[in-house]
């Protein structure tokens, strides 16, 4: 066989590189809404992929495991996340953000601004300022939207921002997109649930169960208000808190919703194509 000329090889390599650059610049449109409840162990992390292409990561689990789960949920080679949303700075929600900020390109970070005196929080603030990533503070009444998709921020309102319990300051958001709605409740307890139920129409197709299935959350009246078709509990196998509690599980069972949990199902993804909701365990 004749030896390939070096010029031809270089031209081919350049052509491949060119094709790749276009591929990476052009946005990808899948058209469906996908919400991944990442299996990060005992902690919260949800990746929302909007029909318009934006990717939003709500919380990051307790440690670096979120990186592996992101690697599985994001399309191969995707290195950009538009928004990181920190609901509140507890260890099992903030733990993986520093790793993510080190490895992914991030558009902006959304948070309440309420901090916590821990090494992880300090490291998080440090990397945000080192990498000059904009941090935007959210309150009740704010909205994040892209095309038909919108996140309505329902909490924290001013009366809860100074609460002694950090869980009360959690960002609660309601996502509506592709004729489906998702309620993300972070770690709120029954008092806050009652407060929100009085103030808002909370009906949602999918509920991220509050506080990993703690018995002080997921009250009967709140679940009746939300009346979810699908409920997902983010919880780690054999955790020391006894989550999810049998109290919460029995109240969830009474609603008729299909309950998924990361400790038993692994990663759980809910997809909405505008007509049906489908659940994928991966």
């Amino acid at each position: 066989m004749k030896k390939a000329s070096p010029i031809l090889l270089i031209v081919l390599a350049l052509a491949a590189l060119d094709g790749f650059l276009w591929y990476s610049i052009l946005p990808s449109f899948s058209g469906d809404l996908a919400v991944y409840f990442l299996d990060v162990g005992q902690g919260d992390s949800q990746l929302v992929h909007l029909p318009g292409g934006a990717k939003i990561l709500i919380d990051s689990g307790p440690d670096g495991k979120v990186l592996r789960e992101l690697g599985r949920a994001l399309p191969g080679g995707d290195r950009y996340i538009d928004l990181l949303l920190l609901t509140h700075p507890e260890a099992d929600h903030i733990g993986g953000f520093v790793d993510i900020l080190k490895r992914y390109e991030v558009g902006a970070v959304l948070l309440t601004g309420r901090g916590k005196d821990t090494d992880t929080w300090r490291e998080f603030k440090k990397i945000l300022s080192d990498k000059k990533i904009p941090a935007i503070s959210l309150r009740e009444g704010d909205r994040v939207s892209q095309g038909e998709s919108r996140f309505d921020i329902l909490s924290p309102g001013p009366e809860y921002m100074a609460s002694a319990a950090l869980n009360d300051t959690s960002i609660v958001s309601l996502l509506t997109s592709r004729s489906a709605s998702f309620l993300f409740t972070a770690d709120i307890d029954e008092n806050l649930e009652r407060h929100l139920a009085e103030k808002y129409d909370l009906r949602a197709d999918v509920l991220k169960v509050a506080h990993h299935g703690s018995k002080y959350s997921s009250s009967e009246e709140f679940l009746r208000e939300v009346s979810p078709k699908i409920a997902v509990i983010q919880v780690g196998k054999g955790n020391s808190y006894g989550h999810p509690t049998k109290e919460a599980l029995s109240r969830l069972g009474a609603t008729g919703a299909t309950v998924y949990r990361n400790d038993a199902d692994g990663g759980v993804a809910v997809l909405a194509d505008g007509v049906t909701l489908s659940v994928l365990k991966y």
């Binding site: 491949a16 590189l17 790749f20 650059l21 990476s24 440690d63 670096g64 495991k65 990186l67 592996r68 992101l70 690697g71 599985r72 994001l74 191969g76 080679g77 290195r79 520093v98 080190k102 490895r103 992914y104 090494d119 992880t120 300090r122 490291e123």
Partner: protein, 482 residues
């Protein structure tokens, strides 16, 4: 006897003495052993490896066996440990870049006055400590279950100062970190971890599940740096430098880069061995001398034992690295000859790879059983499937890390090229991590290992003495291997 043969015997005898001392053999017994050894050298019938005129030299060299024993014991006395007792405050310098793991960091601390010795400290992930940091800790120091390590689990730690450590090593580690960051920015987590392991031996990013899968599939060695890495570096340097500098300068630069690479990656046994032998290859090329694998192996072991006599018996990585190479150099030709496998390499060289893996595995079998209690009989299959593409995965992994210094977009591209290879390896490792035919043997008796190795040596010697056109035996001819 030629000088290089003399050096070979001297180094071997020294290593033998160190081995005896490591195993706790007392001085009178060692002297008796020496007398027996000298007796064999002086009066034994003519064995193949002792030529008559070498006897005088060998008898005089046999004293070096005693020297090895003395060296080990002196070294051991000089390095005595003084550990803090109970809950105590201790200070120390971080002497290796800590392993920044998924849940915690692992810091190797050299204790400062009034204590002495090394302690492995486990700490929360943040704040991150680094090589050269001077830190103080309050907590307990315990012996590890095996007794080989000192451990302190989550003491209260504080950073005292940042500027300890050598400037060269600091710069190298900084470079390594940027290199790894480049990889991590363009590859999903699992693949990035593997690429980091293949190129610079980074292991902190592996999940426990993946480490377990590597151990069960018998593929952990691919993330231990070895001759592959050194060859790729040597090749890349000669390629880059060929156009610009003379061959003389290229030699010095190559040697320097190899040494810097070893320091940068933390000088684990396998890469030190590979580096010493690689430098010897370069030296042989430059001076036009013959490269002797036998002498290179023994010289590498000798240098490493001189720096730290404990590696010989107490460092499993050292034993696996040398054992596997000895298997490839001596056992592989023997198997080839006995089973008449001389011709054909197979698709992508799979036959050669299978034989290489098999020889290496056979050579380290007792070491693995003794230290880990079991091996996977399918590991040869897993290794063949991985070794086919290992050099390409390594080379592309290096490319992904280096192109990141030029342009992020470019490294995304090289990263993309690397992904299929990494995904394939991850798949093979996970698959053979689940599907295994384990050969388990708890408390493998060392004397059985000794018998095993004697049999292997006998096999090698026998195969060498066998006449060249080997008559096919009925058994051998029916083996599918030929």
């Amino acid at each position: 006897m030629r000088i290089h043969d003399g050096a070979f015997y001297a180094a071997s005898l020294f290593l033998l003495g160190i081995a005896a001392a490591s195993l706790g053999v007392s001085f009178p017994v060692v002297v008796a052993a020496w007398a027996v050894l000298a007796g064999i050298f002086a009066f034994s019938p003519n064995l193949i490896f002792i030529k008559p005129h070498s006897r005088v030299v060998l008898v005089s060299l046999s004293f070096i066996f005693l020297l090895g024993w003395v060296y080990f014991n002196l070294f051991y006395i000089a390095k005595e440990e003084v550990l803090p007792a109970g809950d105590a405050v201790f200070r120390g310098v971080v002497i290796e870049e800590p392993l920044h793991g998924e849940r915690s960091q692992e810091i190797l601390l050299r204790l400062s006055d009034p204590y002495a010795g090394e302690v492995r400290v486990y700490a929360p992930r943040y704040p991150e400590f680094h090589y050269g940091n001077l830190m103080s800790a309050e907590g307990e120091v315990r012996k590890s279950p095996s007794g080989a390590l000192n451990i302190s689990g989550f003491p209260q730690i504080k950073l005292v100062a940042e500027d300890g450590g050598s400037a060269v090593k600091l710069a190298l580690l900084k470079f390594k970190n940027s290199f790894l960051e480049n990889i991590k920015r363009v590859l999903p987590d699992e693949e990035a971890a593997l690429a980091g392991g293949l190129t610079v031996g980074e292991r902190a990013s592996f999940s426990d599940e993946f480490k377990d899968a590597m151990a069960k599939s018998g593929t952990t060695h691919i993330v231990a740096l070895s001759g592959y890495n050194i060859s790729i570096i040597g090749f890349a340097i000669s390629f880059l430098l060929a156009a610009f500098v003379s061959r003389g300068k290229a030699f010095y630069i190559s040697v320097l880069v190899i040494i810097l690479f070893v320091i940068m990656t933390g000088a684990e046994a396998s890469v030190v061995r590979a580096a010493i032998m690689g430098i010897l290859v370069l030296f042989a090329e430059r001076t036009g001398r013959l490269y002797s694998m036998r002498n290179a192996l023994v010289l590498a072991a000798f240098v490493m034992a001189l720096v730290n006599p404990k590696v010989l018996v107490f460092n499993v990585g050292f034993q696996l690295s040398f054992g596997a190479l000895l298997g490839i150099v001596y056992l592989k030709p023997a198997i080839e000859k006995i089973f008449r496998l001389g011709d054909g390499v197979g698709f992508l060289g799979w036959k050669a790879n299978a034989l290489t893996s098999l020889s290496a595995q056979l050579a380290v079998l007792p070491v693995l059983l003794y230290n880990f209690g079991s091996i996977n009989l399918l590991s040869v299959v897993a290794n063949v499937l991985i070794l086919e593409i290992l050099p390409f995965a390594m080379a592309l992994g290096f490319a992904a890390g280096f192109t990141g210094f030029i342009s992020y977009q470019l490294s995304l591209f090289t990263g993309l090229l690397t992904r299929p290879l990494l995904l394939w390896q991850i798949w093979v490792i996970s698959f053979f991590g689940r599907i295994s035919i384990p050969l388990a043997w708890d408390n493998f008796p060392p004397f059985l290992g000794a018998v095993y190795y004697l049999l292997i040596v006998a096999l090698i010697v026998w195969s060498r003495r066998a006449p060249e056109p080997w008559e096919p035996r009925p058994l051998a001819s029916r083996l599918p291997l030929s």
